[in-house]
Amino acid sequence: MAAVMPAPAQSRLLMSGNEAVARAVWESGVKVAAAYPGTPATEMLEVISTYPDVYAEWSVNEKVSLEVAIGAAYAGSRSFCCMKHVGMNVASDALMTLTLTGVIGGLVIAVADDVGLSSSQNEQDSRFWGRFAHLPVLEPSDSQEAYEMTRFGYALSEKFQVPVILRMTTRINHVKSLVTVGEREAHGAAGFQKNPARWVMTPAGAGKRIPLMFDRDIALRQVADESELNRVEPGSDKRVGFIASGTAYMHVKECFPDAPVLKLGLSCPVPVEKAKALAALADQVVVVEEVEPLVENELKAAGLNVLGKDILPRSGELAPHVLKPAIAKLLGEPVPETQVAPPMQIFPRPPTMCVACPHLGVYYTLSQIKNLTISGDIGCYTLGAGHPWNALDTTISMGASMGIALGLDKGRGESDKDKRILAVIGDSTFMHMGMQGLLDIVYNKGNVTILLLDNRAVGMTGGQNNPGNGYDLHDNEAPRIDFVNLVKALGVKEERVHKVDPYQLPVLFKTIREEIKVPEVSVVITDQPCVLTKAYHKMKPYEVDEDKCTGCGNCIEVGCPAIHVTRRGKEVKASGREVDLAFVRIESSVCTGCGLCLQPCAPKAIQHYEPVSPIKLVKSAEEVA
């Protein structure tokens, strides 16, 4: 992204949590920032990349991004790393030992939890990492706090030489609210100081660092109990006191403005003394946290009598319409009517592939081939599990399509004997965590056909650059990986590697059909850009000749959202079988002329769209004359 002039200090700006963190990272004098895209965390690094004087990179995965940030922090620079919740699972191998070495330059790791699963494969609580890795966890409750806590995070990180986790949620990352920004502070790098006892974590070396980590725990506990980020707010309605963090704090204040509240900002280690102070102000205490009962269980273990998930949902957001009825029930009050009328049940709008998406050709083809078991991966192509294709059988984590395909092959049951095993993975996911899986398939002689869908972008998160498209985070040219050579280097035989155009259905169909019959690993690479990126070029749109359309509905099976049914009918075939007919039109204003729908159209009813212009009308009038 292009650099812009940062807004002057004291500006009051409407910012998302992501934008607020980015501003704070820049103001904190961070020198190195790294990330892999992931909703809802993506924009943090994108915005950081627009600030001057910060090195920012898209790393190939979250573990590498954290390692880059660690290296910079070892060199004494302030560094930053951000990821979505599942990214931390990938990065955790580094994290769990980083906690022993600690850092010199401040290191803040922002982790975004997708509470409510708006765009993720699971809903996990990243505050666990604070407990697991003995690290402090900061939890902002709006953009202003996201900004302030990031700034505070660097001071805390350097004071205790400890990486700090900034735990965000979708309602922090993507909510826009007002932020007053400040000045940038310059921050030099001390330079890397050799110290093997500190930086080389052999068993003996690590063993010596563990007691230091425990000492740090004790010191941080005191910080949590003394910090203004954890504050007791007295209230006149003493029936219930609340302990809350993140957006849940805002919901509590919205619903129970007169209740005493302990607001947690530095929520790990849990400030037990402050919780006791809150408990003294109220008849009973409810912990409101998204999503796991971490603070609740730790307070219970400390002997405090608190409620939490006993009365609140274990998953999802604790929004006012969830919170109010739960507390009313606790107090024995009538449950307020939160909805004037129940939502009407109407059709769903599941996310679907874009008009002319190159993946449409792949999934249309897969939907036409019988006897397949298809292990899928994380990206837009996960949508292939939906209608009309229903051509994806598993999805769990980044790169998992590879290992799972091999396992499906090696673990075949009697009913799978004749099944062909495919794995579908995108370019960016392949580079993130798929390459090792492919190496494993090659090494262990798996019988798997891999479809590597190269759309030259991280599509689902908004089309970010990656090593496969030859551009870096700043849109500058970068070395471009050649997937054909890459998979050959991983050991796939040259004759088993094919690059095909996913818009050429007959070629794609023939290639996949042939490769699934070969009892060894094959890789079919499709090579057309994501339609949402600037690499995609629109072509002349199409329309349907209504006189020729026979209503066969084949084109609908492609799944392009530009195709609409104009009327339905029934036809009795010569065999006596009744078939449903669906006559169609193409929304030519959004059609980009990819031509996929033409190919299964039996009556050749799809033709280039010719807008009726006055000039043409005159001409045809002359022709008639």
Binding site: K253, P343, F347, M460, G559, S589
Partner: protein, 203 residues
Amino acid sequence: MSQNSNILVVGIGGQGVMTATEILAEAAIAMGHDAKKTEVAGMAQRGGVVSSHLRFGDRVLSPQITPGTADVLLGFEAAEGLRWRHMLRPNGIALMNTARLVPPVVELGLFDYPDDPIAEMKAAGTKVVAFDATSIALELGDIRLGNTVMLGAIGDHLPFSAEVLLECVLKRFRRKGDKVVEMNRKAFEAGRAAVGAAQAAVA
């Protein structure tokens, strides 16, 4: 709850719902209000449902509008009004574009699209003002003016003057030159007039 204003903007990914709400937020801030804007828009770019919440007033705490408390529902797509009408408070008003965007699951015959979503909203007791923002934009010469028409539609249903919102809309187009600014001014006024006329016809 509070005296905060709650505006819910709904539609489909790619329609510009989030940008429209952001411009509304900018107008509220220009009036000196505190404001929070949030949306449920998981994979919205892929044709999914988008509902964008704007809350503004002296101090906004929760960013989310509680069902049954929205003052205004601004709908970019007809059936989405039906999906979200329960969010309106009693006597809240829905300002609905009549455009229909039919998703693939309906084209595949798996679900039905309501015959007349606006009529169904009214039958369910929702106060609705409907207009055809797409046609208005096309008449003005560019379908992309549709979003400005939508913002014009809500212009007279805010606790501040429509001119404040108009200024915030036009600010976005200043860089593109006077002609584009003028087109958007016309689009805004056309949206405003369309709602006014539709309301007058009902009254």
